[in-house]
Assembly symmetry: C2
Homo-oligomer: 601 residues x 2
């Protein structure tokens, strides 16, 4: 069975040493509770929960899958009990509003727990994970009555939530949904339609499920301007607020999927189900984005967790597996062969995982500070800036970390060789589980359009400049630091190039909108690599100042990882830059029919 | 269910128009039988067999898997019947020596059939696929008696073959094997040991199975110089040459794997099994490479087949699925949304698949001509040259086509969006099946060492020069062709750079052998991209001369695909070139212990 230790030392490096989280928390209005001791205790306790409770259920959950029986879904063995422990431990309410019974801790802290959960059992983590988005939607857009009815239960974790958006004929293009909401008694609506790909849509972990569903009102305008959001509980709350009458929303079937077998991906049938409007009529899309942004960060963290899980096990295998001698001579002459960690190409793969895990963690914790400020900071310039950066970085966190997450979990399989393909070792499960992260909550292509189209170009590049100016300032401040020369020089060049590439696409896009779509995914990947380069340069700065202290091996390894990142991963920007500049013409030239001339008769 | 049409038009373009296969076949001593009519008939019949017989069994085989019952393995439903049809159709003997009952057609033709088989049912294709390697080993190294006993049956297909190399503790490093061969009666040996990952190790498709197994003689030297090859039949042939007594080689268990579920991956227990030495004692490694080289080309073709399968279905989905409007306006105003093929990023993914399918096919058919000459050509300069090129290109075919095969099948999933993750659509199976191709018959890392270390550097770059000179000649000849300027200029530069990069690594490797391993995988990928660039330039030359004819849409699409390849895939060489040059130091600096300092306490 794969093993896992939460990377607490690395988390503390990023939180305490790089980003001064103690001061950051202290400055938040609700930050006094997040004292260093509390943070430590929570991370350590979370690490134990993930390792001791969730990890042992990961492979069995994958093998067993979910079961639909008599209209009710059963999660794999042990999932329910683990969830009870999770609720009893008070984990669901960690970062929730004290008004709704939450502990009011900063969301960044919950994100580090989320990394541990995703690293040990992604399928399980999606049961509580979806609740956050539902709670966010209700907190921001729900009436006081709705909050009272649903929010406390979601925060406590005794009920879970879902996001019911996708239908058989539409996922990305939600303007096409066919689910209908017809006014019924009082403020209720009768909701009818079919939703698919509903994660945690039905299960036996919690006593009730709160569906947040998109539907169209009878007089709704066409397209995405005519969709509304409804709260549709599995059981209607009775007078005491407990689950009462069964509502007309049921799981029609479970999808058979490549991975995340332990999570129930449901077809949900709404059959005159009673629902209540959340937010204004026809303004469901904005409410949905409230859920979606939280979910997108969450999916990026899934990518991060899977990278760490794959890295840790690959490292352990690479140290144990004896195969061939080192190219420059025997490294372990007392053994029949050398451990494969001596081979440079195995090290290249391990370091790729390590760099993406550590770089991804920096990216998540950098972004998490922005989220803390947006959620809890005082209105003003700092919070506005945080909001801009959060908007800019969310699609990068989501898409970049899931793309490199898929790559890194595949390196894990590759390091194990043929054994990586065998289920028993657990490495191929990480790949299968990682595969969905590039798809759900908006594919990489959708994130890329959000980044380049919505965030960067629609703000005339202003949102990007908030970030590139910060990088520029850092480069300037460190320009004369000889220890950082190998990082600052290429970073400064890339930072300038990023602006130029953006300008170039923007100019072309004024002539032809297709240029945005043509450049978008390469642009997002480019942005991800440069962002991590900035963060690794900051890590290198921090580490290079501690090379003589007690923990010098840690800092030396950190510096080496930064060096590896600059030498062996960052060059990918060269390819992406050229592809961004290559334009749309080679993509748009062939007609739909002519695509198939090699095989169609 | 996924659909499939063999890409006959594209095959004919590459064979007839680009590489003049009719003349090539006519010049082979055994080529007269491979007349254009015969070739057409075989390809068309093979296309039907793949589409009508194999494709319908692909998803059911994946779902059902293999069964070990009472010591015997059963392949999924329908596999046995399909195999009978295959044998009755005379397919196994197509390219085999007439002396052993073969039809003596050139191996290149069998390779195009192989593409179709791999595209429609990879797991099934591995049952007959492994026989080729076993037959090759016996043909080259077996005694006349062994040939008489086993080869004719393998050629006919009534028996199948395996390669029993890997053991639990060693795959790459076969010098470590523990299986022992002790002299027994007459020329027999008693073989004892455990082999794992034996594809098609046991099954019910054929009446007997011929294992080619590596083992050590009692007095064998240590390491890879002490391994010998043995033929070990499941049933010992009786006096009539039919399956007689059951031999002591049995399937101990079946592996549970990520993909290729329809193929039995067996743990094979040899328990005093009777075997006969093939080739000289302790010279098993050389015999093994005979099997291995055939198998490596075969695995590259698996990559190609999977790309084509994924491309065809992605194209059909992208034409049908309606989602969002084109960025520059409605493309199908009569429909509720535009088909996703209008979106530039979807086109980028489709064209990536298309370019790798067509580029991969050119690479395979270019290499296949070399194989034809090596197998059947007259001794002399041309055959020597073909042998050099075959050696150089084999690791590229194997590793490059499986790496881009994995990427391309993943693009298939991505084009399908969330549906790509659902088993029903068949796209995720292609990914799971493709995943093994990067591992077996030598991982990408091993292929890369073979290319850079063994083939290029050990020949002092001479083998590479045979190829780069050909590219240089082509560039020179077309230097003044304005229609090809966009291809020839970058190609000529890359060709020069390839030589320089090789020289650079070679120089560094003289100081430090680790430099070879550090550069190897990037070097292989670089080599693959430049090789495909050469082939696409030749395709563009061919196509640009036919833009006014009957089939002009085909040629225009071909030219556009070449252009896409140069603009959107070839820039990856920039990243690889820089990574090749970055050297070994950033890989070797961290000690094995210090790798884990972020999480180990």
């Amino acid at each position: 069975m794969p093993s896992y230790q939460a990377p607490l030392r690395d988390m503390r490096f990023v939180m305490d040493e790089m980003f001064d989280y103690p001061a950051h928390y202290a400055a938040l209005p609700n930050g006094e509770d997040a004292s260093p001791d509390v943070v430590s205790a929570i991370l350590e306790e979370g690490a134990r929960f993930a390792r001791d409770v969730l990890l042992p259920l990961n492979q069995s959950g994958d093998e067993e899958g979910c079961l639909l029986e008599g209209g009710e879904v059963k999660a794999p063995k042990g999932f329910k009990e683990a969830y009870q422990q999770y609720v009893e431990g008070g984990w669901p309410s960690l970062a929730a509003d004290p008004e709704q019974g939450g502990q009011g801790l900063p969301p960044s802290l919950a994100m580090m727990l989320s990394e541990m959960i995703c690293a040990t059992n992604l399928a399980w983590g999606m049961y509580p994970g979806l609740s956050h988005g539902a709670a966010d939607a209700l907190r921001h857009h729900g009436t006081d009555e709705q909050k009272a009815a649903y929010l406390t239960k979601l925060v406590e974790g005794v009920w879970t939530g879902t996001m019911c958006l996708t239908e058989p004929h539409c996922g990305t293009d939600l303007g096409l949904i066919k689910t209908r909401a017809v006014p019924a008694d009082g403020d209720a609506y009768a909701i009818t339609g079919t939703k698919i790909f509903i994660s945690a849509g039905d299960h036996n972990l919690a006593e009730n499920i709160v569906h947040l569903a998109l539907a169209k009102l009878p007089d709704a305008p066409e397209g995405s301007k005519g969709i509304s959001l409804f709260v549709v509980p599995k059981f209607l709350p009775n007078a005491e607020g407990n689950p009462g009458e069964r509502n007309g929303v049921t799981c029609g079937s479970l999808e058979h999927k490549m991975g995340i077998h332990g999570n129930a991906t449901c077809v949900m049938n709404f059959d005159d189900a009673i629902g209540y409007l959340v937010g204004a009529p026809n303004k469901g899309l904005a409410c949905m984005f409230t859920m979606m942004n939280a979910a997108r960060l969450g999916v990026g963290i899934q990518g991060l967790g899977l990278i760490e899980a794959s890295f840790q096990n690959s490292l352990s295998y690479a140290r144990d597996r004896l195969q061939m001698r080192g190219l420059s001579g025997k490294q372990a002459p007392e053994k029949p062969a050398d451990p494969i960690i001596v081979h440079p190409d195995v090290r290249r793969m391990l370091l790729t995982q390590k760099a993406f895990a550590e770089g991804g963690r920096m990216l998540v914790l950098y972004t998490a500070q922005m989220l803390d400020l947006v959620e809890h900071g005082q209105p003003g310039e700092e919070r506005d800036r945080a909001e801009t950066l959060l908007g800019l970085l969310t699609p990068i966190v989501k898409a970049f970390l899931t793309e490199v997450g898929f790559e890194s979990t595949n390196e894990g399989v590759q390091i194990y060789g043929g054994h990586g393909f065998i289920k028993e070792w657990g490495m191929e499960q990480l790949v299968r589980d990682a595969r969905i992260t590039r798809l759900y909550e908006g594919t990489t292509g959708i994130q890329a359009l959000d980044l380049l189209g919505r965030k960067v170009l629609m703000s005339q590049g202003e949102s990007l400049q908030v970030f590139t100016k910060e990088i520029h300032k850092f480069c300037k401040a460190e320009a004369d630091n000889p220890a950082l020369k190998e990082f600052i020089e290429p970073l400064a060049k890339l930072n300038t190039e990023w602006g130029e590439l953006t300008m170039g696409v923007g100019m072309k896009a004024m002539q032809d909108r297709e240029e945005v779509g043509a450049a978008s995914v390469d642009y997002l990947m480019y942005a991800g690599y440069v962002t991590l380069a900035y963060l690794f340069a900051r890590a290198a700065k921090q580490a290079s100042g501690s090379l003589e202290g007690d923990d010098k091996a840690f800092y030396a390894a950190k510096l080496n990882t930064a060096r590896f990142y600059y030498q062996r991963l960052l060059p990918r920007t060269k390819a992406h830059a050229q592809m961004i500049q290559s334009g749309a013409s080679s993509l748009m030239a062939i007609s739909s029919e002519d695509f198939g001339l090699g095989f169609e008769i």
